[in-house]
């Protein structure tokens, strides 16, 4: 721990690696089965023998069946629309708010802080009913608005950006003011360009949460045109009465992949962002 890790071989290192690899294998096992099952024909899946590799490789068949049973393209598009809309609005709302809380003096700052801390504790599950009733009354069910609107305020986002902005030197803000910028200018030209690590970290949190959210879409949409990936998958699962595992896994794979790719792309920035946002404590 103390020294810069060495590349030389040692028993301790072998031991460390062994533990890591063991756990990594354990954590990845479900994915291995997902991958393998997506390539197995029906007859191999429900057999009582443990076989990681399909005897008859049926990826094509399973993927074709999955694609024919649910409109994966539509699901993915919906997922992207919903997640992108949520994320964009969240950021647009949270950044100015966090900036004001971190760098400006105003009377309501304390109230806002209390609201943020309170908001962190309230999951959508708790407020779903009244929001649902409200949306039903204004006829917003089955719309992108219904899927997006409740999440446009991300208290977590405000919290995260707040931590990050507090670490931005005051001098930088002052310099911008002396250079002639107003608050909006400062946000757009100084704060945001320097907040990319935080924005990336937040993007991962936000997209992961909303891409995977089942609870809310299940409640507010019944029109398949607005189905998000988990809804589609749930529906697919029901539609196959849980039996066509090959196709199900193929579909699962197709829906999981974009997120994994996103994480792989952003992971370095993500860790950096967490380090810099003071999220660590």
């Amino acid at each position: 721990m103390s020294r810069r890790p060495t590349r030389r071989f040692s028993v301790a290192r072998a031991f460390r690696l062994a533990i890591l690899i063991f756990f990594a294998a354990l954590f990845l096992a479900p994915y291995a089965f997902m991958l393998s099952t997506a390539g197995k024909p029906q007859s191999e899946i429900f057999s009582a023998t443990l076989n990681l590799f399909p005897q008859t490789v049926s990826y094509a068949e399973n993927f074709a069946r999955a694609l024919s049973r649910i409109d994966i393209g539509r699901l993915l598009v919906n997922g992207v629309i919903v997640c992108a809309a949520i994320f964009v609005v969240q950021v647009l709302v949270a950044i100015p708010c966090a900036y004001a809380m971190a760098k400006l003096r105003f009377g309501a700052a304390r109230v806002m802080m209390v609201m943020v801390l309170l908001g962190l504790l309230v999951p959508i599950h708790a407020t779903a009913l009244p929001i649902y009733v409200g949306f039903a009354n204004v006829g917003l069910l089955n719309s992108y608005t219904a899927l997006v609107a409740p999440f446009t305020i991300s208290v977590f986002g405000i919290f995260l950006f707040l931590q990050f902005f507090r670490a931005l030197p005051d001098d930088l803000i002052h310099a911008a003011r002396m250079d002639g910028m107003g608050d909006l200018g400062i946000i757009a030209r100084v704060v945001v360009p320097n907040a990319w690590p935080a924005v990336t970290a937040f993007a991962i949190f936000s997209v992961v949460a909303h891409w995977n959210d089942l609870y809310w879409p299940l409640i507010v949409t019944s029109d398949q045109a607005y189905a998000t990936p988990p809804l589609g998958l749930l529906y697919f699962r029901a539609a196959e009465s849980g039996d066509d595992y090959g196709a199900l896994m193929a579909a699962t794979l197709m829906i999981t992949l974009p997120l994994v790719a996103l994480f792989l792309l952003a992971q370095r920035k993500f860790v950096e962002g967490i380090t810099m946002t003071g999220l660590k404590g």
Binding site: P169, D171, L172, H174, A175, A176, R177, M178, D179, G180, M181, G182, G185, R189, V190, P193, N194
Partner: protein, 377 residues
């Protein structure tokens, strides 16, 4: 030059929560003047600068620049530039872009500054190329033309400092504020940068208020030095005057490195006594008094204050003899060229004296006793 810049500060007060930081500051920066504001850490120098810049507001007092009252004017509307201790360069912009920012903000309309829409605003290209030309010229002057495409993270401290200077200068403000702009540089670079800033000030003629807590910096750079201690300006005068004729014991203590020797003494009927030693005479009322003698004026002499050498500190060009009076109560430092100090070693007995005109007397309240001291030595 259009920017005459004449700053008048009167009766400025500022307190935070429970502490009074500035307790009535009066200060004037004349056209073309370079004033160094020195004082110990926490005395309120930055606060004063921030108030002048409009980043903080004063509790009371007035601020005028070229006759215009600054109160109520936003930071962006005051024609003042500032260089920060941390430089506060925009980390995501190149040096060139950093320097262009203040010009863009002032010369382009809000519309023209928008990302996409802006490109369609008429005349924008012309303004931009004018800005580019000015930035390039400023970069030439500061010898940073080769750095214009680098981001702050790719520059050394000295280079950043120059870019920050460039950003402040490029828009020809009516007043420069600098808050310890050199304190992040290493010693050699600092000495070098001093010269550059003075040079630049001479050329631009923009009046400058320069904050530092390094007295050497203040003495070497400024037309006048303002010593601020405990929220008040104790003395403001040209460097030599401040050094040779401090009007207050705190000013004497703060200015000069190694610090001035302050010897507690008492006056009885015009006779100055240091412990048992009859030191000299002064026409001052009876009572305690402090004698200030700068280390470079304290020399071994036949007939001086007896002391013991505690340590001989070699500093290259000079040697400092750290001594203690026989009672051990007072520490004395005498600074001299190595050749003069060659005979002394720790433990030696020594007698120290100074030319009478270099002895400063301070009354118990800290104020200078103006009457001259006559030294017995």
């Amino acid at each position: 030059m259009a920017n005459t810049g004449h700053l008048v500060i009167a009766g400025l007060r500022k307190g935070f929560a429970d502490t009074q930081v500035l307790g009535g500051i009066d200060l004037q920066v004349d056209a073309g003047e370079f004033i160094a504001l020195v004082g110990p850490s926490g005395c309120g120098k930055s606060t004063l600068l921030r108030i002048i810049a409009g980043l903080e507001s004063a509790d009371s007092g007035t601020l005028t620049l070229d006759g215009q009252d600054l109160t109520g004017l936003g930071t962006a509307d005051r024609n003042i530039a500032m260089v920060f201790q941390s430089y506060a360069l925009y980390p995501h912009l190149t040096a060139g872009q950093n320097m262009a920012v203040p010009l863009m903000m002032r010369r382009l309309s809000a519309l023209a500054r928008l990302p996409f829409v802006g490109a369609m605003v008429r005349g924008r290209a012309a303004v931009l190329s004018a800005i580019r030309a000015e930035v390039n010229q400023m970069a030439e002057t500061l010898k940073i033309a080769h750095l214009l495409a680098r981001k702050p993270g790719q520059m050394s401290g000295g280079q950043r400092q120059r870019v920050a200077l460039g950003r402040a200068m490029v828009r020809r403000p009516a007043l420069f504020l600098m808050d310890e702009p050199l304190s992040n540089l290493d010693a050699n670079l600092r000495v070098h940068a001093r010269g550059e800033i003075v040079e630049m000030h001479r050329r631009s003629g923009v009046p400058t208020l320069y904050v530092t807590h390094d007295q050497a910096e203040a003495l070497s750079m400024a037309d006048r030095v303002a010593v601020m201690i405990g929220g008040a300006v104790l003395q403001i005068a040209p460097p030599r005057e401040i050094y040779d004729n401090p009007t207050h014991i705190e000013v004497a203590r703060f200015i000069g490195q190694p610090q001035i020797n302050l010897i507690p003494a008492s006056v009885t009927g015009g006779t100055i006594q240091v412990g048992a030693h009859i030191f000299g005479r002064v026409s001052a009322p009876d009572g305690p008094i402090s004698l200030g003698i700068r280390p470079e004026h304290l020399r071994p002499a036949q007939n001086g204050l007896p002391a013991i050498v505690a340590r001989v500190e070699f500093l290259g060009a000079e040697v400092v003899l750290h001594c203690r009076t026989l009672s051990g109560a007072v520490a004395l430092q005498a600074q001299m060229p190595p050749a003069d100090a060659a005979n002394w070693a720790a433990g030696d007995a020594i007698t120290l004296a100074a030319p009478a005109h270099h002895i400063l007397a301070f009354a118990a309240n800290g104020h200078r006793v103006t009457a001259p001291v006559h030294h017995h030595a």
